[in-house]
Subunit: 339 residues, 2 copies
């Protein structure tokens, strides 16, 4: 009795045409119903909706995209999927875009520009409406030019490829550094070290610049700057170098919590008490920071909020492609715990 199963048993998925026949209307009307158009009479709408659910219809986005030239999908490219920061950021982005009926393709460039380039190419082929990008280290500035030529809207997050150009959303790293320094200064610290990421990204440069610039204004004696990767071993190494420096600092600010946790561990191993013998401040406020012993003091960079803002900026850009670029800074929060 069911009309959506062909006689031979081999089947296609149902299309507008099938629904139209079932409901006794035209394809155009069905299309209007699908898109919630107010044009269609309530009685007709009901009949069509019944038909839709009776045939097990699946919307064919590819066909719609072909006709309209717009897809409702967004490419999201991050350099390091394992980083909890990005997981939360993704959640923020999804939350906003899903409410708009959009889907994000998530891609992990693993800090490799070629891989990133392949993804972007593929995303273009899939007809995405734009991308949200945290560029891999070493990405050529020409990428931005290309994206612009291709008319592919792009919101950068966390890192800026080149200078301060283009749409971007990021935590206010400079402010975070200043907040940390001000707090340490008021607690009596004078000599303070910095462990920035060894990656050459704007996220690292901004921290270093703010750090260097704040010294004179607060009469601080800013200690060694030791670049450092996020592995515990490297963090141990870096803090070792800080401890060995001529005029030993009494506090250290770390690029992120992973490094800070590594530092804390190494301090304990050496019999030093974090928070007393050496103050340690991280960045990000990852879940582990609160659970660690001792609990880590950190500059919370609010990844979910960054994601929300990025998605909103992206939507604004789609709606108004030619308005001037926007740069959004998300204010960090200083979370003081035991270190």
């Amino acid at each position: 009795m069911k009309s959506n199963e062909s006689v031979s048993g081999e089947r296609r998925t149902a299309t507008l045409k099938d629904i139209a026949e079932q409901a006794g209307v035209s394809r155009a009307t069905v299309s209007l119903v699908l898109r919630q158009s107010p044009l269609v009479a309530t009685e007709t709408r009901a009949r069509v909706e019944a038909a839709i659910s009776s045939v097990g219809y699946v919307y064919n986005r590819g066909a719609a995209r072909l006709r309209t030239g717009t897809s409702g999908t967004v490419g999201l490219v991050v350099p390091e999927i394992t980083n909890p920061f990005f997981a939360e950021l993704t959640a923020g982005i999804d939350q906003v875009l899903e409410a708009e009926g959009r889907l994000t393709f998530l891609a992990n460039s693993n800090e490799r520009p070629e891989r990133q380039a392949r993804f972007i190419q593929r995303i273009r082929e899939e007809g995405a409406d734009g991308i949200i990008l945290c560029a891999a280290e070493g990405t050529s500035p020409s990428l931005l030019t290309q994206l612009r030529q291709w008319h592919l809207p792009c919101v950068q997050i966390l890192r800026l490829i080149d200078g301060e150009d283009g749409d971007a959303v990021r935590p206010d790293f400079r402010k975070g550094i200043m907040m940390a320094l001000r707090h340490l200064a008021s607690a009596g610290h004078v000599r303070i070290a910095l462990l920035p990421s060894s990656k050459n990204t704007s996220a690292a440069r901004e921290r270093i610049e703010a750090f260097v610039a704040s010294g004179p204004s607060q009469a601080l004696d800013l200690g060694p700057i030791v670049p450092c990767s996020s592995s515990p071993a490297d963090a141990a190494d870096a803090i070792g170098r800080v401890l060995a420096s001529a005029d030993r600092p009494t506090a250290v600010i770390c690029h992120n919590d992973l490094i800070a946790l590594g530092v804390v561990r190494e301090l304990k191993r050496r019999g030093l008490k974090p928070g007393r013998d050496m103050s340690v401040i991280g960045f990000d406020d990852i879940p582990e920071a609160a659970n660690a012993v001792p609990a880590l003091s950190t500059v919370a960079t609010r990844p979910t909020e960054v994601g929300i803002q990025a998605a909103k900026l992206f939507l604004r850009r789609l709606a108004a492609p030619d308005t001037p670029h926007e740069q959004v800074l998300v204010a960090p929060r200083l979370v003081l715990r035991e270190t």
Copy 2:
């Protein structure tokens, strides 16, 4: 002079038609060139390829999909993107599928079945050729039936939704448990505890079953089984309960390395030496396991290999939809370190 820029400055992206005109051939011929068909003469091919690169062409996958009904994309749904295990697994999958010119949509269900369902729905709308799925906890068994009705090929990874049905690739958890038990037994341990995941998944059940079943055969006195989440706090709690148990075990096997690391930390906090006062064995061999102090002994579950096998099985299934289901078990490796 360039023919791909319209007079008014407003532009469309180039299509087969533009290339065809530029090269003085038909669209059909250009299509053949794009798909590397051997039908086209070398001289013609060269002319067309020149035209292609001169107009900045972007392949429109949506249009191709509409005609052919096949897309070259694969949905990958994981429950927990932050877990390093999944990051490596994803890398293994990508490695195989990319070599075939396929792209994966990565989606994070965050252990929520509704979210997972939305993704699968959307993936269908996008016309993916199939999915690779690590089902969220609490996924209804009816999902598998539906996927089958929809003719959407699905390879399960790590966890099986229901019974042992369907295509699946996973580490051989039972064997891993047996390897760990055999090693502990040969090192003289008799009373051994298990800290399985508190999630109700096949990955946990298989560990428990193998654990319980191995006791008699090896004359072991298997100690308390304390379900436990992956947070350090919960791990500390669980090992506390193990230590307090009547006949205190001398070794513990943990569901994964995160739990094992939490256990190690708690043991140290209590002044017990992991590896001497209590042997600890984890699962997974995440990067941190090797770097930890003391370095963690663990059952390596080889995520990259699981990913590779899953992708290969997926490709086999696409090529031969009606051959019987396959279940692939990836042999684990026991990595003995200090604990």
